[in-house]
């Protein structure tokens, strides 16, 4: 036993001296490639890597995939250890924090050097990757919120067209709610619920993003209405407590009238809801056309030793050929104009409903909200959301909740100033 212990110690010591951990990354040019919970596309990535290696013989690419909630934990640990993957697929607003902290490579010079590259992508979506005038990611796949509605339930409630205003939204919901049935359901993570406030003219922060701007009579009114509707069963409680699976499952259960979610929800819901077809499910914009994007994009870590190679690689990933291929396999939009045009054309034939859903993603792309470029977005959410939850679930009067939230946000902004 002792001998083993001694040996172990010696080996470990030797290893520590012989190869500091960064050494692993060196040798023949090697790129780490980390994706965000999309292991099902392993085949695609393997093909893309293979093609890349045809033109870059001596490059080795290590592909990793981590589950969404754990990817940040993994990436940050790797950052500390100095072994951050060179190319990372980031979602939502977390990239801003990394960008502001100097972990990500500014891609603007590259885009400036090769102006034709930027033209490949949908300008509005590309611009969501801009922080302080610099672009940090290229679009991998795109998605923004829209309003799904259950046509059958609309008929039963004697409703025709989808709502065109906030109050109509609530009124319709109330009409459809009875027993197990509820009228409206929204996703709530990553500010996906924010369009509900934006459409009522509520702003989260002052234009310079320095002060909270949400503690207004308007906001209070909206909150009160939402709380009332939730209490009355018009709005499904899961809106404020569920994350991804519960809301989708509930809507797929054919007991919810309207579902405010992004396009990714469509295939998830379709997979579960036998009832879903063009006559029973409608897809449209939320009143006011506001929508919160939740896009995935490829960034390059600053610690990358071969930024040119990494840049070449993400150009390949997001370029027309592979974006088209990816769009086809995953039936989604990539933000690469050509690919999306092709995909919309193809899917229109095999799944008109899916096409209708995807179509909404390219409309009103000038009305994004809930995607403020804040380096401390996560903390802001963490301060803000629980208070909103308190209000809509009727645990606090709207005004108190907003006041408390404001205090929290002010404190946060002060600390981060």
């Amino acid at each position: 036993m002792k001998r083993r212990a001694v040996l172990k110690g010696a080996v470990a010591g030797a290893a520590a001296l012989a190869m500091p951990h960064v050494a692993r990354a060196q040798g023949r040019a090697k790129l780490g490639f980390l994706t965000w919970n999309i292991a099902d596309q392993e085949a695609l990535f393997k093909e893309e890597i293979a093609e890349f290696q045809q033109t870059h013989k001596d490059v080795e690419i290590e592909w990793l995939d981590k589950k969404g909630t754990e990817l940040p934990a993994f990436y940050q640990t790797q950052l500390v250890a100095g072994t951050a993957p060179d190319i990372v697929d980031l979602q939502g607003a977390i990239w801003v924090e990394y960008a502001a902290g100097g972990a990500l490579l500014d891609l603007s010079p590259y885009l400036a050097k090769e102006p034709e590259v930027a033209k490949l992508y949908n300008g509005d979506y590309l611009s969501t990757w801009r922080y302080e005038g610099k672009t940090y990611l290229l679009p991998f796949y795109i998605s923004k919120t829209l309003l799904y509605y259950n046509k059958t339930m609309f008929k039963e409630a004697g409703l025709g067209a989808p709502p065109t205003s906030f109050d109509e939204l609530l009124a319709f919901s109330a009409k459809m709610a009875k027993g197990e049935k509820t009228g409206f359901l929204t996703l709530n993570f990553d500010w996906l619920y924010w369009p509900l406030f934006k459409m009522n003219g509520v702003e989260l922060l002052s234009p310079d993003l320095k002060k909270p701007a949400f503690n207004t009579p308007q906001a209070a009114e909206v909150l009160e209405k939402l709380a009332k509707a939730t209490d009355g069963g018009a709005i499904n409680k899961i809106s404020w407590t569920g994350r991804w699976v519960e809301p989708n499952g509930a809507f797929a259960g054919d007991t919810v009238g309207m579902f405010h979610a992004h396009s990714s929800a469509y295939f998830f819901v379709k997979g579960q809801g036998r009832w879903i077809n063009p006559d029973t499910l409608g897809a449209t914009q939320l009143p006011g056309y506001w929508a919160t994007p939740t896009n995935h994009g490829f960034a390059i870590s600053k610690s990358c030793k071969h930024p040119e190679l990494a840049w070449e690689f993400i150009k390949l990933l997001t370029g027309n050929k592979w974006a088209t291929e990816f769009a086809r396999r995953r039936k989604l939009l990539t933000g690469t104009v050509e690919a999306d045009r092709a995909e919309l054309a193809t899917i229109a034939k095999e799944d008109p409903l899916g096409a209708a859903v995807l179509q909404t993603q390219l409309e009103h792309t000038d009305k994004f909200t809930g995607n403020w470029p804040l380096p401390y977005d996560a903390q802001l959410k963490d301060v803000f959301w629980p208070e909103i939850q308190n209000a809509v679930l009727g645990r606090k009067p709207a005004k108190t909740a907003l006041a408390d939230a404001e205090r929290g946000v002010e404190r946060l902004l002060r600390r981060r100033a």
Binding site: D40, F267, G271, K331
Partner: protein, 136 residues
């Protein structure tokens, strides 16, 4: 725990080997081995079956399509055409979760029947024939 053999009297060897901590895993290993053997002998990806029309007569020259599940969606994998006796054989089913349907212009098309297999590319002989209906 090596290096002790010299201390352990012969008699203890039986105790060391013939106890439940050895036998149970051994039994499990054996079962696994047998199963793998069976799999190895039956994973040629063959799918055989018959296609008949609404009246139950075999249909020659009908196209049989095989879909396989890829994560969440079924994608078309391969096709086969029925012989004079209405029988067909697909040689390259890679999956454990498939759907089959047959079609012949003029005779009609069958419903898509889902089939689950116990392992990938398990050889499958459909008991029920695919029934073409609806003219078309």
């Amino acid at each position: 725990m090596t290096g002790q053999e010299d201390f352990v009297p012969r008699a203890r060897w039986r105790a060391w080997l013939l106890n439940r901590f050895v036998l149970v895993p051994a039994a499990l290993a054996l079962i696994a081995a047998l199963w793998n053997g069976y799999v190895a002998l039956h994973d040629h990806g063959l799918v055989t079956g018959r296609v008949v029309d609404a009246a139950g007569r075999p249909v020659a020259g009908a196209t049989v399509v095989l879909w396989v599940l890829e994560f969440t969606t079924y994608v078309e994998k391969s096709r086969a055409t029925t012989g004079p006796d209405g029988a067909f054989t697909i040689h390259d089913n890679p999956s454990h979760n498939i759907q089959l349907a047959a079609e012949k212009p003029g005779v009609g098309r069958s419903a898509r029947i889902p089939v689950r297999l116990y392992f990938r590319a398990e050889d499958l002989a459909l008991r029920e024939p695919l029934v073409l209906e609806g003219g078309g």
